[in-house]
């Protein structure tokens, strides 16, 4: 049986890890390579770099970060942010990433999902989704960092993602993101019941019991968190010890 994964996510801007609280008051929290090494030692099952630099030079810096990390960290690395073409996929994978995550670009150009899956394999295509409850009792997909409503139904979108051959879905709930009151159990169950591919829970984790909650109450394969780990409130190791105590299968440190 596969272990449930704990994934720290690093937002990187111009080669530095930053953490914003609701997109405001962005703080530098350190060097991405150093942080990745630290998380690896703590037992992170995968590390996500999310490039929030929207410039061409920024991309080069990001690839250097991936290259350097891949020399010292031997768990899967996933890179997202600003990836729009098959060439971007190729450059990122060549730099040492094992997976590439796309979000807005997948919505704007769904063919990118199937093209990337065909060329590089499903295992390296991760689709990030930002979704929010709508007034029709369902969920809508947003892009551009959660700012633009695409009037796209979440249920339809996850089906399409799976049919196009994506390997995983990383589901971020705009409703719970930044609130730290726990993952969005309802939204995760909505998605997990509609697809067979692994779903990574993202957004809302603020305490250690939120990790057991998400694995006990949903079929999510992994849980992603950022600030909790960056600010040293919890280590990945502490989360895993806690989950083990709850009889949830995790990889030991």
């Amino acid at each position: 049986m596969l272990a449930k994964r704990i994934i720290p996510c690093l937002d990187v801007r111009n080669g530095k890890v930053v953490k914003g609280v609701n997109f405001e008051g962005v703080k530098d929290v350190g060097d991405p390579v150093e942080l990745a090494i630290q998380y690896n030692k703590q037992g992170a099952d995968e590390i996500v770099f999310y490039d929030i630099t929207a410039s061409h030079e920024g991309r080069g810096v990001m690839l250097d970060v991936v290259r350097e990390t891949a020399k010292q960290v031997f768990v899967p690395l996933c890179v997202g942010g600003g990836i729009a073409t098959i060439e971007d996929f190729r450059d990122t994978l060549r730099a040492g990433a094992d997976k590439v995550s796309i979000n807005s670009q997948a919505v704007k150009n769904p063919k990118l999902i199937s093209d990337a899956a065909e060329v590089f394999g499903s295992q390296c295509v991760v689709i990030g989704i930002d979704a929010k409850r709508n007034d029709k009792g369902g969920y809508s997909v947003f892009i551009n960092g959660g700012r633009l409503d695409m009037n796209l139904d979440l249920g339809d979108w996850v089906k399409e993602i799976e049919e196009r051959g994506a390997g995983e879905i990383c589901l971020n709930s705009i409703d719970t993101d930044g609130v730290r009151g726990g993952f969005d159990i309802e939204m995760l169950n909505f998605v997990c019941s509609r697809v067979k591919i692994p779903v990574i829970a993202s957004g809302g984790c603020g305490a250690i019991n939120h990790f057991s909650e998400v694995f006990e109450q949903t079929a999510s394969s992994a849980a992603l968190a950022a600030s909790l780990f960056h600010f040293g409130e919890l280590t990945v190791g502490e989360v895993k010890e806690y989950l083990k105590g709850k009889n949830i299968a995790v990889r030991g440190v």
Binding site: A3, P76, G96, K196
Partner: protein, 198 residues
Amino acid sequence: MIAIIDYGAGNLFSVQNALNYLEIPNIVTKNAEDLRKADKLILPGVGAFPDAMRMLSETGLIEVIKEEVQKKPLLGICLGMQMLFEKGYEFGETEGLGFIKGTVELMTPPGLVIPQIGWNKLEMNEDCKILEGLSDDSYVYFVHSYAAVCDSKNVAAYTDYGGKVPACVFSGNVYGCQFHPEKSGETGLRILKNFAEM
């Protein structure tokens, strides 16, 4: 010196990064002479069985590998492990290197997704040097849809994915990991170190 065989099929640099990190001398090469001079060989691989066999055959290295494997250890990783068997059944039947008796077939785990992607536990089977020093609670990283079908005496460890799946295999000088040791944290590094120290 370990020669990492370069025949155009992926994940070479992750393997090289891991060996460099362990300070194990290595070379990425498609030169027959390098394979003859090396102490050990690694056959990596990502992609589909028929393409990989075709690419390996085009390098003209198959005969050299067959000769060298009589004298020195060879480690196949992921698709590189699958190619060690007699036949593969991905997109029709393809002949493999035939170093280990058995075939490679599509997994059909009831109720589970293909490919298996993620960390799964090693369940130790036959004693094998390559897994020396690992704890009973060792997890490694898998990405695959096909798996070996072979005799249990050639299996050093299984993993459970809707049934027993050979995770680590061996026969004489030949070793194979269905998982990616170069992406399996400390456990994976230990396996690569064990291989280097044989």
